[in-house]
Symmetry: C2
Subunit: 340 residues, 2 copies
DNA sequence: ATGAAAGCGCTAACAG
DNA sequence: CTGTTAGCGCTTTCAT
């Protein structure tokens, strides 16, 4: 409502002077500075960031785009990214791609990306072709497990390795019939499910145990409700199951509930391990065993990468993979107990 | 990079024509329309939303501002709001106020609010004075339990009533020494903690049971880690406790973990009830008993209110309160078992 | 130390 | 049906 020029007129100076005062650009006398600031306060002037952004050609804002707001993993990730960006004096906003009207990456969304100085895009659920269609000037860092066009910076988790470690952990603790909740066999696709299932397979091969492919259980979507039903059904059908590797903590929590519904002792009869190291996982069932996919590392690296791009650094696209580690807690045997 | 006028020049028409084509404003011949669209595709033109926003004076975007990204309640809320706004053809972005450099509502934040057509501001943790300082043209709907300046639209939960119902539920199931995790006595402050503690008191009065004020346990912040330790310590110190009302589900989940650490049977020896009806609550400990504060209702009403304001409706500020109901699940006795 | 004027990329009013 | 022109509110040369 009240603009720079109005403040300028009120203070009897030019707009430049007001602008200089507000942006602390020093070239201003102390007396006028005071007078201007007073008028600013009096009029209740608020800068119009849209206008500033247009003029400056940047917004000082970065966006994180996630498939869904209500998945705990993305909440944890967003929190960590926000902290990291704040340290760089940058503002983070989060957008959801999943429920958008025009689908993932329609024309409008592309234009929206341009309104940010940089974007961290969680590509979970996006196809290679969708990503390949993206062409914006805005620096983008891709997150997620799938294959992405080589021209993008990409930070991902050690999905295969993490899953292998999780499964090896179960095998070492004596499990022999380990179901994969949310698994997928697809050799052609590279998704979170296929990668983590590959890790499950690798662990079996390594241990010399035959992997029972009928224990790879698809699940769509990967949510706790579905996991609960699936786990209960599965354990009723297959009494020989003595381990469950849930491809995410969210599904692991659902699976634990399903096993409890079925009266199955965990970790006595069936051991359960998840993937993600959700913060809340520490507190369910005495502590959910899981794989820490290095979320903190991912946040740091993504921010560093994006900051470098935003400051114009020119280097070949980087493809980084976080280190994973097993976090044994109460739902698997071997180590037992809680940690952290 | 490529602007409207460049497209216009390439197509041999004026910028207006290009603009008209892109905005489907009909006043354009079919042949030129095709030619323009072709040039748009060729050049890879992308509209500059910042420029459009400046010119139009609106952004078609609304913001939800939450204290923290990594609190499950806000994830759930954001998901529901996004759906509701999508139905109105509106875009939602989420910002975090907690970790901002300049604190909750410094000058910059105020300016940021102006960049949205409307704002839903979760006021949890903001003081009355902070809110009173807000003066923007942008329509704002406040969410949260505390007192807010009357000039704001405000949607809140039935905190006292919900807490009363939760406590009554415990009392009806035989609990007599009910601790309030995250409670607060402060008669002068109106916060989530004080409100919910007031409900706890009301239920006792109603049932003719003396409320033991030494069982009101402050906790800051309201997080699962702290709740776990607090609950374990509390039960060790006070063997007479037979019920816990945790002021949020997140703390309830922590409390359950703490009780489990201490080897306490739930709901046999101690019954536990939370508040929020987090989705994940269904799956912990066989189902966390809780209070559904009407999050869905809150989302609907906030959106309706904000849409009305954004379309210029002029009415007295509204102060709405959602209906709450107890959701008995496995951590309290009476009803027992799980539900939906 | 301050001012005048140009222009960021777009849309809207007014002509033709 | 299409073009010309004038800004939206700010920052930024270039002058003074």
């Amino acid at each position: 409502l009240v603009t720079l020029s109005e403040v300028a007129r009120a203070a009897g100076v030019s707009v430049l002077t007001v602008s200089n005062v507000l942006n602390d650009r020093g070239r201003v006398g102390e007396d006028t500075r005071v007078r201007v600031l007073q008028k600013v306060a009096e009029t209740g002037y608020q800068i119009d960031l849209t206008a500033r952004n247009l003029r400056r050609g940047r917004t000082d804002t970065v966006a994180l785009i996630v498939p869904r707001f209500d998945h705990a993993y993305f909440g944890d990730l967003a929190g960590q990214l926000a902290d990291a960006f704040a340290a760089h004096g940058r503002h983070l906003v989060v957008e959801q791609s999943g429920a958008s009207l025009e689908g993932e990456l329609a024309a409008l969304s592309q234009a929206r990306l341009r309104t940010y100085d940089g974007v961290i895009l969680s590509a979970v659920g996006l196809r290679y072709a969708d990503l390949d269609r993206i062409s914006v000037a805005t620096p983008i860092v891709l997150l997620g497990e799938q294959e992405v066009p080589a021209r993008f910076d990409h930070v991902t988790m050690s999905n295969v390795e993490g899953a292998r470690m999780a499964t090896a952990h179960l095998l070492a603790a004596g499990a022999r019939r380990i179901a994969v909740l949310g698994g997928a066999d697809g050799a052609d696709e590279v998704t979170m499910s296929t990668q983590r299932t590959a890790g499950w397979r690798a662990a079996h091969a390594e241990a010399g145990v035959e992997a029972d492919e009928t224990l790879v259980v698809r699940m769509e979507p990967l949510e706790a409700d579905a996991a609960r039903e699936t786990a209960a059904r599965l354990i009723a059908e297959r009494a020989d199951i003595d381990g469950m590797f849930a491809v995410t903590d969210q599904t692991a929590i659902g699976a634990l509930a399903g096993l409890r519904d079925a009266g199955v002792d965990v970790p006595g009869r069936v051991q359960v391990i998840g993937f993600d190291d959700l913060h809340l996982g520490r507190h369910v069932s005495g502590g959910l065993s899981t794989v820490d996919p290095g979320t903190a590392w991912i946040a740091e690296q993504s921010v560093a990468l994006l900051e470098a791009r935003m400051s114009g650094a020119d280097f070949a696209p980087r493809h980084l993979m976080s280190p994973a580690r097993v976090v044994p807690r109460a739902t698997t045997r071997s180590a037992g107990g809680r940690e952290g």
